[in-house]
């Protein structure tokens, strides 16, 4: 029998690269589930190949059945030859190298542990995926019709609330602060700010006097609109963050300007889409220059050196 490796005992596994590749494959599967099927297939292939090689490597010691040096103390695995009265022996006497065989206890041990581990993986992987992956899949929502352009008086902020998903009820209520900036090159211009404070996500309020509320139900969706007489900016009730009328931070802990909604005008109706993040805004109203970034969570910088802390955002 060949000694197993140059170091350690025969039962000690030698370090291998296969588990690393196996882990990379699993990671590819998870990424593929989110991003694309091609990556998923590649990940599955990598996992299968490296898994096979890993198992082959890990069981090589068992398959070659490394023999310990103290052979003499081992109980013999062969029975004494049975004497037959006539003819040849019923059980031929084993030859010198037939005496050492793959011990049955080792096989049972490896089978039990291997099968148990396999069942564990097969059960754990989907459960873990079910726990972790759904928050990252299908997080989008349809555009929301918040009213006709005429419903938004020029240069006044209108607090607009609606249910993103009426089936879920009040928990899906969202608020946008919408200001009609008039026409810019004959195209209506709007400033649509999210009410989510970019410090830690509390709802910012308009610093100003609310006027009469109007409501409209369209396609089963109730939209409330409350114009504001003279908005002086926005303030957050939780930790005192303050913003000006363009959403720029003026005081307090927020790390950037208020998020904004993408919007579209269709047949004279204002449709709100997804939100995006804004580092800061220069200029005002229709002439504002918006420094836009992909949506980031509250408290996360989108520009400057601190933005390096958040290199990857979850898919939306």
């Amino acid at each position: 029998m060949e000694p197993h490796g140059g170091h350690g005992s025969a039962n000690e596994p030698t370090p291998t690269i296969w588990p690393v590749g196996f882990a990379v494959g699993i990671a590819c599967i998870f990424i593929g589930l989110i991003l694309s099927k091609i990556i998923l297939v590649v990940g599955a292939v990598i996992t299968a190949i490296f898994g096979f090689l890993w198992i082959r490597d890990a069981t090589s010691g068992l398959r070659t059945a490394a023999q310990p040096a103290d052979e003499g103390t081992e109980p013999s695995t062969s029975a004494p030859p049975i004497r037959a009265d006539r003819g040849r022996a019923a059980m031929p006497e084993p030859g010198e190298d037939e005496v050492v065989r793959f011990p049955r206890s080792k096989l049972l041990e490896a089978t039990t542990l291997g099968l148990g581990g396999l069942i564990g993986i097969v059960v754990t992987a989907p459960v873990l995926g079910f726990t972790i992956l759904p928050p990252f899949i299908k997080q989008g929502h349809p555009e929301i019709d918040v009213g006709a352009i005429d419903d938004f008086p020029e240069n006044k902020f209108v607090t607009t609330t609606y249910l993103l998903n009426p089936e879920q009820g009040e928990v899906s209520r969202r608020t946008a602060y919408i200001r009609n900036n008039g026409l810019l090159d004959n195209v209506p211009s709007f400033t649509v700010l999210s009410n989510r404070c970019v410090h830690l996500g509390c709802p910012v309020q308009i610093n100003g006097l609310p006027l009469k509320k109007s409501s409209e139900t369209r396609d089963g969706l109730l939209v409330d609109r409350t114009p504001n007489a003279a908005a002086a900016g926005f303030g957050c009730p939780c930790h005192g963050g303050q913003y000006d009328t363009e959403g720029n931070r003026t005081a307090g802990p927020p790390v950037r300007a208020l998020d904004r909604y993408e919007f579209r005008i269709d047949n004279g109706r204002l449709l709100l889409g997804d939100t995006f993040s804004v580092s800061h805004v220069s200029g005002t109203g229709a002439d504002a220059q918006i420094y836009a970034y992909p949506l980031a969570g509250p408290g996360q910088h989108v520009d400057g050196i601190e933005a390096w802390l958040y290199p990857v955002q979850p898919p939306r």
């Binding site: 972790i132 928050p135 879920q168 009820g169 009040e170 996360q300 802390l309 290199p311 979850p314």
Partner: protein
């Protein structure tokens, strides 16, 4: 009859002991419990050593009241608040059980901190008890996670916005923070899944983990023994000269003051 007939008292005693004997013969559980309750501990331990048992009691109170509250609570955004109001206002003693759970949560955390302080000041975290310290810290962290996840369940404005802030706070962690936030919320925003997720973590995942760790914690306490106070003549690292202290029997006959070495 040469032998005296057993009296009525003995008969009743035998009747009472029979189930215990039956259990002991088949499981050894009675002996195990006796071993656990009447094992040897240093003679000069004090009330400070009861803080661990007190924490355990607080946890058991939380578990029992929590199980009962779960019979009436509905983890759905449209009915959670109403079900809590129903528990508090309508059901018999609902206010009491909910109050026990709500205030007991703070008691549990406070007792764990006091227990931790006692262990630290007595040096009871040192070899060979480091592992028990680590397990204890895990229990403390999970206890505080219980507080975080349980806080959302009343589903009122305080609960909702505190959870918004708490989750966003964790989402500002570098690199993995944004992903952690989404996993906690069960999505990009707080929704129905968030409440059910928090409920499951609060009443199934974390209590199970804490109970398992408490079992491990107690096993190590029994295996490694209880530490004497640092000023004790039996304390670690002190020589023990002279004759052993006079025998004493716990609460009934405490050792006389003069025999204690300082």
């Amino acid at each position: 009859m040469a032998k005296k007939k057993p009296g009525r008292k003995d008969q009743v005693l035998a009747l009472l002991l029979y189930p215990l004997d039956w259990l002991e013969e088949r499981s050894g559980l009675v002996g195990g419990v006796r071993y656990f309750l009447f094992r040897k501990v240093p003679g000069d331990i004090s009330w400070g050593h009861t803080l661990g048992s007190a924490s355990l009691t607080a946890f058991i109170v939380q578990a029992v009241t929590g199980v009962i509250l779960a019979m009436y609570y509905k983890p759905d955004p449209n009915s959670a608040y109403e079900s809590i109001r129903h528990i508090t206002d309508d059901l018999y003693a609902g206010w009491l059980v909910r109050g026990m759970h709500r205030w007991g949560a703070s008691v549990f955390i406070i007792l764990m901190f006091l227990h931790m302080g006692r262990v630290f000041l007595y040096g009871a975290y040192k070899f060979p008890r480091e592992l028990n310290w680590i397990i204890g810290v895990l229990i403390l962290v999970m206890g505080m996670m219980e507080g975080f996840f349980g806080y959302l369940l009343p589903w009122d404005q305080t609960a909702y916005w505190a959870t918004v802030v708490g989750v966003n706070l964790q989402a500002t962690g570098p690199f993995v923070g944004p992903f952690l936030g989404d996993i906690l919320r069960g999505g990009a925003e707080i929704g129905p899944d968030t409440l059910a997720r928090f409920y499951s973590l609060h009443m199934l995942v974390l209590p199970g983990a804490i109970a398992g760790l408490i079992g491990l914690h107690l096993y190590l306490v029994v295996r490694l023994g209880v530490v004497s106070p640092p000023w004790s003549p039996e304390g670690a690292g002190t020589e023990r000269p002279g004759p052993p202290p006079p025998p004493r029997s716990g609460l009934v006959a405490p050792s006389p003051r003069g025999t204690r070495r300082r």
